[in-house]
Symmetry: C2
């Protein structure tokens, strides 16, 4: 007798892998397409399930909807058309000091024992370490950006992570608080032209090492 | 007449979303379970599909298999059991100078026009900007880490991203080159105890802004 195949499991394996494989950085979007409010909320509700160190949830997501601000950000981004043509422009920022802003809120639902250990540990881990605080901003936003890009792919949309912009000009436009940093932008939308084929993948043995370099 | 439902599309939406929802940071693993070589290769083949700025592919993945090195890393990680009990320990590193190491290799398969623009642009963008080079390390590895953690979830495994370790000690143990940096570790395995319930989620309106702060 043949072993029964677990179809649900097979589909799951295929489909998450497909989102990873099919995600490409798309530059050309349908300017007439908009994401619905429900889709935007779905996307952000998934984004905030991304892990952060000490659960500090340091990411901040600025949805730029105002077309005038989008035009100004486009001109601060080497005039890249995707900034205004995509359906959604997200400026990913991080609060560099979230670890010390009422840290108990990040563990309010945890068992008392865990909370009593974790809340003071956060302060001790980050206090005075400016570079580590910035690393955390980039790391958390990188993780969340990939959640967003894969969720968008699964919803039938494409995306592009961007660092090609003048961070100081964009900071002014979105009124970035002094203790925050912009980590990248992500655009999402309906592609009108696919990404170009992959430009030059390094073979696995150039990037994977066993035990040591 | 009813509109036909596109079942394939619905399944896809559900399943990628499930991987995002079900990924939790698991601390307790079955020490007797090992990932097969095929599974490890699958995981890393997916990881390297993650986007990087200018396609610089700056991540480096060190698979720590040697049990003695794992023990030493565990003792440099506040003795966290997951370091030795998980099926796979990945030290995520980045080459801070990948943008200037034969940059043409990252665009070898691209159309000449794109290559002629992108290859020199990389050098101009990063030269002399040490903080930006480090940001890129953290950003790229954050994105790749989430690819790995979601792919692992879809394969039936759990994971945990870690920064609680002494980076200098771990750097010595894995013989980290001088122009590289450790960005985080990720452990993957078969959970023996689920993650604790989410500790304290911030409501969306605390992390999402429209147009400006």
């Amino acid at each position: 007798m043949q072993k029964p195949i677990n179809v649900a499991k097979l589909i799951k394996i295929m489909e998450t892998f497909d989102a990873i494989k099919e995600r490409r950085s798309v530059k050309h979007y349908d300017p007439n397409h908009k994401l619905s409010e429900d889709e935007i909320e779905k996307l952000l509700s998934l984004a905030v399930l991304s892990p952060t160190s000490f659960n500090m949830q340091n990411w901040r997501f600025v949805l730029v909807k105002d077309s005038e601000i989008r035009k100004q950000i486009r001109s601060a981004s080497w005039d890249q058309a995707q900034v205004t043509d995509s359906s959604l422009l997200l400026v990913l920022c991080a609060d560099l000091k979230s670890w010390k802003k009422d840290p108990a809120q990040y563990w309010k639902d945890a068992p008392k024992e865990a909370r009593d250990f974790l809340v003071p540990a956060m302060g001790m881990f980050y206090e005075g370490k400016e570079q580590l605080q910035r690393d955390e901003a980039m790391r958390s936003c990188g993780i969340a950006a990939q959640t967003i890009m894969l969720a968008a792919k699964a919803m039938g949309y494409d995306s592009n992570p961007m660092i090609g912009f003048d961070p100081e000009k964009v900071a002014q436009l979105i009124n970035l608080p002094k203790d925050h940093v912009i980590t990248m932008m992500v655009v999402i939308g309906k592609q009108v032209k696919p990404a170009m084929p992959r430009g030059g993948q390094l073979p696995l043995d150039k990037v994977v090492f066993t035990d040591r370099f």
